[in-house]
């Protein structure tokens, strides 16, 4: 077996908010076509790392590269164009736009029409619009939101909003999709279909970076897992190896004081 090619490389990322060291010297590398899990107790810095990777916040030190191209320092919209799309722990949709339009906004990065073309409504523009709309319907179908395509996103039930977010992330045809707690608040059968969706993504060639609290989901699904605690990478490896790591057991799984399942209500990092 040849060594898998690295898609995303995170090198020595540190970030402090005031006096709190949210991340200190975190390095991971995510192989192309794999599912990579990121776990850790609340406040460990998982979402902060997501925000650094997607360009929302600038790290104090370190950098990220995707496919060898430097992500750090690029504006947010460029990072998307370079091939990373994400979802959010606390769902963020365009509530007043329809589900279909949410997905179509997600396609912004891969459509070309300039201002002039949009005004003149040339044939290529109309053809592109029609193609995007068809693709958007297909994506909605894939995540099971097609029946609500024309409903305002804000009016959808919670589970469907999560799925819609995933569809919107996929709309940019990313090389890598970063899912921030996609199973949060889902019941067992919803989680099972989410799992199928992620497997389908990986089989389709999309790399998945996953923050998740559902340990069974993570351990069953991920090719590799990284564990963060207090901003530090305390373990990294294949799931079985990580699960057996005493540092992980102490920090996360076994620590009597910290309940791994308890989630501080909607706490954005």
């Amino acid at each position: 077996m040849t060594a898998p090619e690295t898609l995303l490389s995170v090198q020595g990322i540190s970030k402090a908010f005031g006096g709190v060291q949210a991340l200190s010297g975190v390095s991971i590398s995510v192989a192309r076509g794999s599912v990579y899990g990121l776990i850790g107790p609340n406040g460990a810095g998982k979402t902060t790392l997501f925000n650094v990777i997607t360009g929302l916040i600038a790290p104090d030190a370190g950098c990220c590269t995707l496919d060898g191209r430097r992500l750090t320092g690029e504006p947010v919209h460029r990072v998307v164009q370079m091939g990373i799309a994400r979802t959010f722990q606390n769902i963020r949709l365009f509530h007043q736009m329809s589900a279909l339009e949410n997905v179509m906004v997600g396609m912004h990065a891969r459509s070309r029409t300039g201002a002039l073309g949009a005004i003149l409504r040339t044939r290529t523009v109309r053809e592109e619009e029609a193609r995007l709309e068809a693709d958007a319907h297909a994506l909605l179908e894939r995540v099971g939101v097609e029946a609500h395509a024309n409903d305002p996103a804000g009016s959808l039930p919670y589970g469907l909003q999560r799925r819609l977010e995933i569809a919107r992330a996929l709309a940019s045809r990313p090389n890598m999709v970063a899912l921030d707690e996609p199973a949060a608040g889902m019941n067992a059968s919803e989680t099972a279909s989410l799992r199928e969706l992620i497997v389908g993504l990986r089989d389709g060639g999309t790399t998945v970076l996953l923050i998740e609290h559902d340990v069974r989901l993570v351990m069953g699904l991920c090719d590799r897992v990284a564990v963060l605690d207090h901003g530090q990478l305390i373990a990294e490896g294949v799931p079985a190896q990580v699960q057996a790591d005493p540092a992980v057991i102490e920090a996360y799984l076994g620590a009597p004081a910290a309940e791994p399942g308890a989630r501080a209500a909607g706490r954005p990092h």
Binding site: T54, L56, P75, V76, H77, V80, Q81, R86, R92, F94, H95, Q96, M97, E101, M104, V105, G106, H108, A109, R110, S111, T113, A115, A118, I119, R121, V125, E128, E129, L132, R168, S172
Partner: protein
Amino acid sequence: MLGSIYALVALGYTMVYGILGLINFAHGEVVMIGSMIAISVVVTIGTGSGLPGPVVVLAGVGIAIPACMLLGALLERVAYRPLRDAPRLTALITAIGMSIVLQNLAMIVWGRQYISFPPLLPSEPHAVLGATVTGTQVIIVMLTLALMGALLLLIHRTRLGRAMRATSQSPALAGLMGVDVNRIILFTFMIGSALAAVAGVMIAGYYGQAHYHMGFMLGLKAFTAAVLGGIGNVSGAMLGGLALGVIESLGAGYIGALTGGFLGSHYQDVFAFAVLILVLVFRPSGLLGERVAERA
């Protein structure tokens, strides 16, 4: 008629507010500069060229539009973008400052006197259903309706419009979707300014004159129209503009009769501001708005 001009200008206010939460008080001045440029062009090529009137006016519009778009883009880049993250009041004060700068600039370039628009457009009255209208008025109303239709199409049916709406709901999130938010904001200013240029030419053609100070009152009234319709709401601005025009005209026509001749039609400006006050007191979200509370 007057209402359609208000509506075009109000659109510029409301689109910028929808995206940035900024009242661009310099917008009235963009209209004024559109007027001035168009008149300059019309006077330069109109005298002695022998071209038919409407063609000359069209040339004026054709030059005023790109000039105003450039001006709008410049305002955004130079005056507003550096203050994007500043407190809202700072940007508002800057907008008022830009308005004063542009007025004075226009005064230096075109002088303090009224500049007249050559009588190139058809002005003979026709009787239609008991009302008296001129060809120019008909053109203005038709053109306004066409522009509004085009704008609605742009906003609701194109990729660019989708990006604009997404940006107005959440700039940060739109950025995460790959939308270049700075470009969308710049573009919004440019569209608003293009509409302002058209409105500027209309108002110059309608009143037959322009003045460096005309943008001030016009801007306030268009702002009133935008508030009346529900600021941030594009259809609202259209409705508000047309409604304000009707209210003003009827008010000016009947105020003499209502007050027994005590107040005359030169009090017509009172109505716009009475409307502004009433709307702000009784329905601050405007006719079609529903998001003001969350926005303000």
